[in-house]
């Protein structure tokens, strides 16, 4: 642990630039907007994706990237781009930002714009599909990965987490309340790191 004030310091992004993070926040909050439960960015989804991109998954762990990359793939053959996830996000965000400026859009326009991007038949479409997958992972993964802050996702559905022992309860069909969530690290909020502030705001 760092000194007592470290958590208050403005933690820099590990992978994103501030502009990228702002764009990311707008997209992930279209996927999971705020209601009685936090929006994706409020639950740390941008922090989660930033961390994933800076570590093994972003660098292409578990991804076979040997050439060639011929044209003509059918969708059922799966991912056929030559980019690691980190490369896909960096280049994809740069191009996608040319196609629209979230800062000028209201919530409805943002949702429509993300929908349009997702329907594209190029790698922007693949980027949006990847971000949707990462968003759900960030909202619902154990908080040790910096998303699901304060168990936002687990509280929303009623998932008790990693400490699981139900032998005596599974066939009691009129049962008690769901236990409160507890993650791998035991912490009350699952992780000592709150989501970073998105500079300039996502809204």
């Amino acid at each position: 642990m760092q000194h007592a004030f470290a958590a208050r310091d403005d933690r820099p992004w590990a992978f994103f630039t501030n502009d990228e993070a702002r764009w990311m926040a707008a997209v992930v909050d279209v996927f999971i907007p705020q209601d009685e439960f936090p929006a994706a960015s409020q639950a740390g989804v941008v922090d989660f994706i930033d961390y994933q991109m800076a570590t093994a998954y972003g660098a292409g762990k578990g991804l076979y990237l040997e050439p060639p990359f011929p044209d003509g793939a059918v969708a059922e053959q799966g991912y056929q781009l030559e980019f690691t996830p980190a490369q896909l996000l960096r280049q994809g965000i740069e191009q996608a930002r040319q196609l629209g400026d979230f800062a000028t859009m209201d919530a409805t326009a943002r949702a429509d714009h993300v929908e349009d991007l997702s329907n594209r038949d190029d790698f922007i479409g693949t980027l949006i599909a990847e971000l949707w997958k990462l968003t759900r992972q960030g909202y619902f993964a154990d908080p040790i990965y910096l998303g699901n802050h304060d168990y936002a996702g687990w509280r929303m559905v009623g998932f008790p987490g990693a400490h699981a022992y139900y032998t005596e309860r599974v066939d009691e069909h009129e049962r008690s309340v769901t236990p409160p969530p507890r993650g791998i690290a035991h912490d009350r909020g699952g992780s000592p790191y709150p989501p970073r502030a998105i500079r300039g705001g996502s809204d």
């Binding site: 279209v30 996927f31 999971i32 907007p33 209601d35 439960f37 998954y57 762990k61 578990g62 991804l63 076979y64 990237l65 040997e66 060639p68 011929p70 003509g72 793939a73 059918v74 969708a75 059922e76 053959q77 799966g78 991912y79 056929q80 949702a111 949707w132 759900r136 992972q137 619902f140 993964a141 154990d142 040790i144 990965y145 996702g153 687990w154 929303m156 559905v157 009623g158 998932f159 008790p160 987490g161 990693a162 400490h163 699981a164 022992y165 139900y166 032998t167 309860r169 599974v170 066939d171 069909h173 049962r175 769901t178 507890r182 993650g183 791998i184």
Partner: protein, 594 residues
Amino acid sequence: MAPRTLPKTDVLIIGGGWTGLTAAYELAHAGQRCVVLERGKQRHTATSFGAPEEHDELKYAHRYEHMVDVKKETLTFRHNRDQQALPMRRLGSFLPGSGLGGAGIHWNGQLWRPLPSDLEMRSHYEERYGKDFIGPDLSIQDWGVTYDELEPHLDFFERICGAAGQAGNLNGEALAGGNVFEGPRSADYPNPPMRQPISNTLFGKAAERMGLNPFPMPSANVTKAYVNPYGAQLHPCTYCGFCERFGCGYYAKADPIICVYDRIKDHENFEIRLNAQVLRIEKSEDGKTATGAIYLDENGEEVFQPADTICMNAYALWNVHLMLVSGLGKPYDPETRTGVVGRNYSYQTVAGVDAFFDDSVKTDPYMGAGALGVVIDDYNGDNFDHSDLGFVGGGYIACKQYHGRPIGYQPVPEGTPKWGAEWKRAVRENYNHHADLVVHGSSVSTPENYLDLDPTWTDAYGRPLLRMTFDFPENDRKMSDYVMQRAMEVAREMDNVTSVSGSNNAAIDSHYDIVPYQTTHNVGGAVIGTDPETSVVNRYGQMWDHHNVFVFGACLFPQNLGYNPTGPLMGLAYWTLEHMKRDYLPNPGPLMDA
């Protein structure tokens, strides 16, 4: 540089999963010096799979930490010979394992026996429905070994696992509450069935009202403290909901490490080498026998391990790959329909039915286990009349509750938007009120679904990748749709259900998709049989072309049955090992005339 050659061993076993470790156990006790080569790392149930660290959905269920690394070994895939096969760049549809215990540490524990008719599929259908009932575009064939011959071995493996279930046919006597369609068992399950949650219970009640025959899914999630015949101690299941894709640190899911490895690891005839990647099997000058295997040791150096007998115990797909890159057996050619290695690859048809309850039924889906289900077998195999249906085969319908892990478990009713506020509300409102039905169906073999070597891409060791040419046969699409409709009828009959929807991986007018997870039940490619023109191994699992090579695993299945493969393939493994010990090793040579 020529590889370093080690002293010869009696038996060389390639792969340290269920079949490989079992072969080592049985053959070491028969006086054979056994060397097991496992490409993956050392790990142990006690030290590697403990909660809460193992209960990390992201790491194990979505980053595939226990699975094969596609950077080292993957395959290419296409639907038919007119397409270019492209690499499976990421895992998806199926998840082969790597490391001690293989895929056996991250299975669900659904432990089935084949139906007697499954093992004689062609002759059974021809006898009941006539010679022409199976169309000419299907290469369905008999296994060459019968249920009665496998029964003692199926029974023994259930004892190794401490299986939990309810017998439906004990020595020909029908027992209420079990599977009325199963073949006769020589003994009851060693442990009582699992405790069932509300969703599965309501499914069973609905099925019973409809005149169907529900029973608890046979399970290798153990229900009582139990000691298996090898002396392994197992413990009762905690219903933690982290089964498939995870190891079980509770010692409650039978796995090859605790059930077999721990009981053989100190035996004087047993040696295992981890991080030992087999590159190819070498043949004698006359080509009639294999002499040993070349592998990369943990330092990346090539080593030759000579052996009198070789057991191929890799995952189904990699056994076929190893045969092809080693020149063992004649490769299948779909043009001429000759050759056998790679022939009759098939998969599994999986459809799902979602039923949503009103608020009065709270399912608590996080209380789950891999084989926690209530099943009907009324539409599996040939348990129902196929005369007018236009297809062969079938599947079981199970209501199961195997996990509520929230990244992967987000059931929403049909018509819910794919994301946004409405999606979020639907996830929240339905998480605790959902019944998860699966149709787990057979998949027949055809002359156009096969495995060979890819001309373009290579693995990390410079070998051509395996190439899979596969799409669901028309027969299977019709079958899967038919059984899914029956599942939807049961779902609609369930109490307090407000909506029902179905989705089918083998839907009519769609193509097999290698992206979404379906099952790790790839079968065939090195099939068992009684005719060397249509099988790689004889009915004892011995290669026709190389009598000192024995083949294990689901690559032996001539087509896929409606059940999960581990029970049937372990029955075959013990059958092969019995014949190795009794007939082959005292007098090596072909066990059948070609």
